[in-house]
Symmetry: C2
Subunit: 429 residues, 2 copies
């Protein structure tokens, strides 16, 4: 990790720069796959599974027997861990439920807002080296709490046509019954347009590689909602002299192992910890199975020494990290200064892993600086908040002149007249 | 308006079809303007103002003297109306404030979520035939309640370089201090990238024509958040025998006058009201200044007769209207069946105009079927909800094994190790 001591403010933009994400070059090929899925449905899905994943798919949907087999085969300790995480995620997301309050803005003018579940949602879970069952909890649990009626999950199978048992167990425990063995761009297309097997959904959630990201952007343009724009995962650690260098190093490495493009940043006010953290990083890195990936991510990673916590927070708010770990004295007070971040981890005993898996918060978070304007996934992501209003005849009399005056000034006479005809007419409840 | 009696369910998709919106053809020209604004800043903004709006702009920003002049010149009745509307919108949106609750998901594992204002937001207010000062209330008020630090407003001036006094008065009353006389694609570019005069923002709100819509889509793709995708405005009225045909007709016309592409739909269970509504539409239309526009919108509009309220609501949920007016007996009970709509108006005395201007609800709503997955603008649109967590050493001991087991099963050993190093180490802090 490169160290920069007391950088000038003018250097910040360069030091905080992220890799440029541009999927424009992929748009043609991804668009062709989407168009084929839209037109040929399951046939196209099977063709691309063969072409890209070298798998000959029979039934696309996971059967009850496959779910049962997964449950029977999965390690008991892992089941218990998944159920513990599920409990915590449920508790935290249930507390996000909003209760409808009727607001009388004027006598006889009642307005309220009601959260209503998005009826049909699609969850994408990537395949690849690891089964990301934790993401099923993070997306499926709020979808169930919201009351989404149709929850569809797509995830690629292995070459033998099997889905990892932890994925199926997590889906089953969350209550996601419809799991399809489809990956990549064709999965996004299947959920966006529907096929003979896969129901069309209104909103698509979940991580993916650059092809999946591009596919989500393209279907979003054509009217299907998506969770948020995506980019490589990232962590920033703010540490002072009260941090434990071994913990800081472990947190930096846990981000670095995600991929060679992961962003890792350490901001510190304490020059004396820098060498210690670097020694710990080297020592812990040597023990990691994914050390090649982590080492590549660390090559682009930075340690920034700044003069005080206030300057550190200014710099971190400019960066807008997905994850922010605050290993400082008075961490609760420092938290008050956070303006731009996805999720914040306070104190020496709150590793990012806690939120990634089991503490209860969501791990689907805005990357790439999107934390300036976007929130992570929450219960809100699975509902629409519909407003309602009911005016009594007296209420309309109270507010009528205001509406008529404003509508006339905007040159919208029919808007005005919708009030005028009502004010003129005798009561007819 | 064409009448369809008891259409088969198989006909619904055709009857509920909207005009296809495709701004792909505009992308090159809009993209070129955005690129020029990004590169040349104010110079490009002035050049396009000259080219498209035939206006020679001196200072881009509205001065305190111009605000004062607007306030002095504006009609007192309109000022009073704007202040009444502002009060109601404030009351309704303040009630959306979320208070932070700390949730202890397990002993020693505390998680919470805190709404934090988006620091910099941009509001776009179109020019054209009418000054849309009501939209300033709808966007500016929640931005101020959220606590956005920098609120920038762009709106085109007239050929003399003046902005309508109602627009300036509304901006001033809401607390929006920075108003720029910039319209169209160049305004979206200026707010997305920043220029010498206009600050760069993180999220852009507001309506616009197809060029503005396309510009918002393009800057969204490059990382600037936008309020929601846009389409022509629309209303659906559900009416039974208890409706007042003159009121229904007025509501249909108030939507039709927006533009020739406005979508107007009447769904009814009462065959006897159809002729009456049509007569009222004809009579009221004849009195409207914008009757040409409204008449063109009505040509594409439909009256659907269905067998009962349950079928009506099924059809309306499939349509997902921006505005839904329920002029039925038991309208509160019918409201419970609403799944997809932007905003709902209940009873005979709740015209859409009430919500467009003054009742308190927001009028920036999802069109084009987006109500299946999107909400209208609310206080939520101006904040990010950031999650925080703080684990005690004991809390991490409680949850540690769960995290370790899950991380190991996902093949992420550094994630596991971030817990392990902490469980091993003696308490520090």
């Amino acid at each position: 990790m490169q160290v920069f001591e007391y950088p000038e403010r003018s250097q910040w933009p360069e030091l905080l720069q992220r890799p440029v994400l541009d999927t424009t070059a992929l748009e043609t090929s991804v668009g062709n796959i989407l168009a084929a899925v839209k037109q040929d449905g399951d046939t196209a899905v099977r063709r691309y599974a063969q072409q890209f994943d070298k798998v000959q798919l029979e039934a696309l949907e996971v059967t009850p027997a496959e779910f049962a087999k997964a449950t029977a085969s999965l390690d008991a300790a892992l089941k218990k861990a998944i159920l513990q995480a599920k409990h915590n995620i449920e508790v935290f997301h249930k507390a996000q439920q909003e209760h409808t309050k009727v607001i009388e803005t004027m006598p006889g003018v009642q307005c309220w807002r009601k959260p209503v579940a998005i009826e049909k949602v699609g969850l994408y879970i990537p395949g690849g080296s690891a089964p990301l069952f934790s993401t099923i909890l993070m997306l499926g649990i709020p979808a169930m709490i919201a009351g989404c009626k149709e929850i569809v999950l797509c995830t690629p199978s292995n070459a033998a046509g099997e889905v990892h048992p932890a994925v199926l167990f997590a889906a089953q425990e969350v209550g996601v019954e419809r799991v399809f063995k489809i990956g990549g761009v064709q999965a996004i297309g299947a959920m966006a347009y529907g096929t003979e097997s896969v129901p069309r959904v209104h909103k698509i959630f979940g991580p993916g590689n650059q092809y999946v990201t591009c596919a989500k952007q393209l279907v979003n343009k054509s009217g299907v909602a998506i969770d948020m724009p995506a980019g490589p995962s990232e962590v920033a650690v703010l540490a002072d002299e009260t941090c434990v260098p071994a913990f800081v190093a472990a947190d930096l490495l846990s981000q670095a192992e995600h991929g060679p493009d992961s962003q890792v940043l350490l901001v510190t006010t304490a020059p004396e910890i820098i060498a210690e953290v670097q020694q710990e990083v080297a020592a812990q890195l040597a023990q990691l199975p994914r050390q090649d990936i982590a080492a590549r991510a660390l090559e682009n990673s930075r340690i920034l020494l700044v003069k005080d916590t206030a300057e550190a927070m200014e710099l971190l708010n400019a960066y807008a990290p997905e994850h922010l770990i605050v290993a400082c004295k008075d961490d609760i007070a420092v938290a008050d200064a956070v303006v731009n971040a996805g999720s914040v981890f306070l104190g020496n005993y709150s590793p990012e892993s806690a939120g990634d898996y089991a503490s209860g918060t969501n791990h689907t978070l805005p990357t790439n600086g999107y934390a300036t304007a976007y929130s992570g996934v929450s219960l809100d992501s699975f509902v629409k908040k519909i407003t309602f209003q009911r005016l009594t005849q007296e209420g309309l009399q109270q507010i009528g002149a205001t509406i008529e005056t404003m509508a006339a000034a905007e040159g919208l006479d029919a808007h005005k007249n919708a009030v005028t005809v009502r004010l003129k007419q005798k009561a007819q409840s």
